[in-house]
């Protein structure tokens, strides 16, 4: 029996690579020593959002002109197919999104400032052009100082931002975390309390404004809660991201994990500490066989790169010192994806989503090619294609 492909890391890059292997009918093991970064952010994928401090409107143009980026050579066609692939994977996994846009969506950051993103979960606020908004704040929620965020929004966008302040619900105390808030709001009394408070206080807010809530609107039932608000108030209702723990990413990770498990991926927990002829070693040198290895270990943030006290940089899965370039993957047997890629700086560039996407697609395509495997299920044009199986 051929061993499975090993994907090291279950952050967004590893999850996507694993999904593509599943769809190609290839057995995959997801091996990781931690949860990855999805629980730390909203899950709205950047294509290319920043140009220095400036927010970027047209990511297509940026990529068409790009030079020196690892994926500068990707054509518009490749990007289009890539994004379609990702949104199909998410659709299969039950993660709803806004449609893929022709320009970056306008979104609002956790601090109330305008932001841009490309593939955005449906519960999150995303519009084609910035507009006046109403920010809703909960008194007892530390990250939800809507009045201050509204000032930030209108200063940055030159647009009106109104504020709707809601009190703390009965039973609330200072220790409520975002998760506690969310589970209250998706409980029956919580939902009723919210609608009642909203109807009582909405009169002061201009009619046409969308209501933007902090990202605590339920854990699993976010669509129901936002839907109920729209039905009872007649207003558009969305979430904006909150600082970690970020429910957007948590929801996505939960759905995505469930889908991967249903499709035969195996999740295995442990620290990988060596690369061998037949796969990897983990848990201090026990071996784990794999036909190929995808190294989606997330760089310094994810734990794939470790900085030692003497300043040297180590690749943790190989327990090897990095001098200049990666110690791995000389023979193509180990390919790298996600934030682990050299030169990847999503914080500065707002291209983390694009790098996750392109690197996962290339890692899977390259691996399949090298192993001479034909995808068991049919592939679309070019790249790793997906045909919906339902």
């Amino acid at each position: 029996m051929t061993p499975p492909v090993l994907v090291i890391g279950r952050g967004p890059a590893g999850m996507l690579a694993a999904s593509l292997f599943c769809l190609a009918g290839v057995a995959v093991d997801l091996v990781a020593d931690g949860a990855g970064t999805l629980p730390l952010w909203s899950g709205a994928w950047h294509f290319r959002s920043y140009d220095g401090a400036r927010l970027l409107d047209d990511p297509w143009q940026w990529w068409a002109d790009a030079e020196g980026h690892p994926y500068a050579a990707w054509s518009s066609q490749q990007w289009r197919e890539g994004w379609q692939t990702l949104s199909q994977v998410w659709r299969l996994a039950g993660i709803p999104t806004h449609p893929l846009p022709s320009r970056n969506w306008w979104t609002v950051s956790a601090a109330g400032t305008p932001d841009r993103a490309f593939l955005v979960p449906a519960w999150q606020y995303a519009v084609p052009a910035a507009e006046p908004v109403c920010l809703v704040g909960f008194e007892g929620l530390a990250d939800s100082l809507a009045d201050v965020q509204a000032v930030r929004y209108s200063r940055r966008c030159n647009l009106r931002a109104e504020v709707l302040a809601l009190p703390s619900p009965p039973g609330w105390d200072g220790t409520w975390s975002t998760v506690r808030w969310a589970s209250y709001l998706e409980s029956e009394p919580g939902g009723a309390w919210l609608l009642e408070e909203l109807t009582r206080r909405l009169a002061g807010v201009s009619d046409e404004l969308p209501l933007l809530f902090p990202q605590v609107m339920g854990i699993r039932r976010v669509a129901d809660i936002l839907g109920a608000i729209t039905r009872s108030t007649g207003r558009r209702a969305y979430e904006v991201p909150a600082p970690p723990p970020a429910l957007g990413g948590i929801r996505i990770q939960e759905q995505w994990t469930r889908w991967l498990l249903r499709n035969g991926a195996r999740f295995r927990s442990g620290h990988v500490d060596g690369i061998t002829e037949d796969g990897v070693t983990w848990h201090h040198t026990q071996s784990l066989n794999g036909a190929a290895v995808v190294n989606a270990t997330g760089g310094v943030l994810g734990g794939g790169l470790a900085i030692r006290r003497d300043g040297s940089l180590w690749e943790t899965v190989a327990a090897r010192r990095l001098g200049g370039s990666s110690a791995l993957g000389q023979d193509g047997r180990v390919v790298t994806a996600g934030r682990q890629l050299p030169g990847c700086d999503p914080d500065r560039h707002g291209d983390g989503g694009a790098v996750n996407l392109a690197s996962a697609v290339e890692a899977v395509r390259g691996t399949l090619q090298r192993l001479g495997w034909q995808p068991a299920r049919s592939a679309g044009e070019g790249g790793v294609g997906i045909v919906e199986s339902h």
Partner: protein
């Protein structure tokens, strides 16, 4: 009116003493209270044992003041006790001199069986030969500074942060006033005496008295580790040197220090080589130190008085009160230099005596028996009915709002942003609540200053989980919160 220059332990101590005697005082501090050495120290309430051999006067002063501070500021002292630990490599001959020194200074020393010590302090390595218990403690410096400031104001004195002394005016050779530069611009203030308690800047300030004094400035680096790695203060039983003290401070531990001569008081910042040296020295006593998570590094500057260098190059921690009038400088100008945080009260008392002698005022109150009015202290507001802003240090929105001043001042008053995440999560929250008071623009400037200050502490300790934390901090700042503007 007496003007006191310096909002550190010494200056606030002097002003606190003077207001008790009914003398009107104004303290001017060029930055925030405690921004000098008093906010960048090790946190050790010395028993004096550290100085028992090299500096017997300081040892005795420390022990006396240690006992006084426990009485007058119990809320700012944690009576942890301390150990002096000798390893196989440390000289026995020094141990004997040390025991004798402690005895002479009256410092109670108790031999501790090595097995007992190792049980209490599992972090200690195998090479421990001998352990003694001493009455060291932990000093909450910021809390005491803020208490003194509050007390001074309550008694009718004034404390002006962000106000710099730029000139001293004299009439017929005697101090007649000062020129100040502050938020409201330049102003003058008439006064009959000036006290220079400017710590490492005391040399610079003394030039305005036409009688400069020489200081020996040396920078000391300290490392902050997550968690209380030890339950009490640990000193190395060897001649005072680098990396010989570990102090448990609230939820963290502070290890230090080093001693690198510097040219001027502004030369702050821990260097990579000092941090590396500290890690190596630490490994000699704490074999597990490589696995401890380091949170940040910081440095303070010792303002030691150049009067007392011994043959071996040891600069005494003794202090000196200088009456410039008697040395041919301006009459009514005084400087107080050297000393320790632990001995601030005694330094303040002797300085106040000199000033009162000059002004012809009799002492009526004794600060050795006067309680300092302390706030309940950080972390005591857990049960507030407001959300937690800082989860690491459990600081609520209400606790933060109770403090006046900038984000940095609130940080030292409440301890928010000092825990494992170093303000990654709570910095923006705190700035938002601050924006309700000072407006968004000003709050964002304070946030930038807060971030820069926290980031500075990361520079020399960028390894292991701390490097990972720094990467997360960047992701949150730039991607989640859109704090991108200040990027180059």
């Amino acid at each position: 009116m007496v003007v006191v220059v310096g909002g550190g332990a010494t200056g606030l101590g002097v002003a606190w003493d003077l207001v008790q005697q009914g003398v009107p005082v104004t303290v001017v501090e060029q930055g925030d209270l405690g921004q000098g050495t008093s906010g960048r120290f090790h946190g050790l309430l010395h028993s004096g044992a550290r100085y028992a051999v090299e500096d017997p006067g300081t040892a005795r002063d420390c022990w006396t003041e240690n006992q006084i501070l426990r009485r007058i500021a119990p809320g700012a002292v944690e009576a942890t006790g301390g150990y002096f630990v000798a390893t196989a490599g440390d000289a026995e001959e020094y141990e004997e001199r040390w025991l004798l020194g402690c005895q002479t200074a009256g410092i109670p020393v108790r031999p501790v069986p090595v097995a007992e010590a190792r049980q209490r302090v599992p972090a200690l390595g195998g090479g421990v030969r001998r352990v003694y218990g001493v009455p060291d403690g932990v000093l909450e410096g910021f809390s005491l500074l803020l208490g003194l400031a509050k007390g001074i104001v309550a008694q009718g004195g004034a404390v002006w942060p962000r106000t710099r002394l730029t000139r001293v005016a004299s009439r017929a050779g005697s101090v007649s006033g000062v020129e100040l530069d502050g938020a409201g611009g330049r102003r003058t203030l008439a006064c009959s005496a000036v006290v220079n308690a400017a710590g490492p800047w005391a040399g610079e300030v003394s030039t305005r008295f036409e009688d400069p004094i020489a200081l020996r400035l040396a920078s000391g680096t300290m490392l902050v580790f997550a968690h209380r790695q030890v339950p009490l203060v640990i000193n190395r039983l060897a001649p005072p040197g680098d990396g010989d003290i570990l102090v448990p401070h609230r939820h963290v531990s502070i290890f230090g220090t080093t001693d690198v001569p510097v040219a001027h008081a502004g030369a702050l910042g821990a260097t990579v080589s000092e941090v590396q040296r500290l890690m190596e020295l630490g490994g000699e006593l704490y074999p597990g130190i490589e696995q401890w998570r380091v949170l940040r590094a910081f440095a303070g500057i010792r303002p030691l008085f150049d009067g007392g260098i011994s043959a071996e190059g040891w600069v005494s921690r003794e202090f000196a009160v200088i009456d410039h009038g008697r040395r041919g400088g301006m009459a009514g100008a005084f400087s107080v230099v050297g000393g320790k945080w632990t001995t601030y009260r005694k330094m303040a008392q002797e300085t106040a005596n000199a000033v009162m002698g000059y002004l012809g005022i009799r002492r009526t109150a004794d600060t050795a028996t006067l309680r300092v009015p302390l706030d309940p202290g950080p972390g005591s507001a857990d049960s507030d009915a407001t959300p937690l802003i800082c989860e690491c240090e459990r600081v609520s929105a209400a606790a933060l709002a109770r403090q006046n001043g900038s984000l940095s001042e609130r940080r030292v008053a409440t301890w928010f942003g000092m825990g494992p995440c170093q303000g990654t999560f709570c910095g923006d929250r705190a700035a938002q609540s601050r924006a309700r008071v000072v407006g968004v623009e000003a709050a964002e400037q304070e946030l930038a200053a807060f971030r820069a200050e926290r980031a500075k502490g990361m520079v020399a300790v960028r390894w292991g989980r701390n490097a990972q934390q720094e990467a997360l901090q960047q992701a949150i700042r730039w991607q989640t919160l859109g704090e991108r503007e200040e990027r180059p």
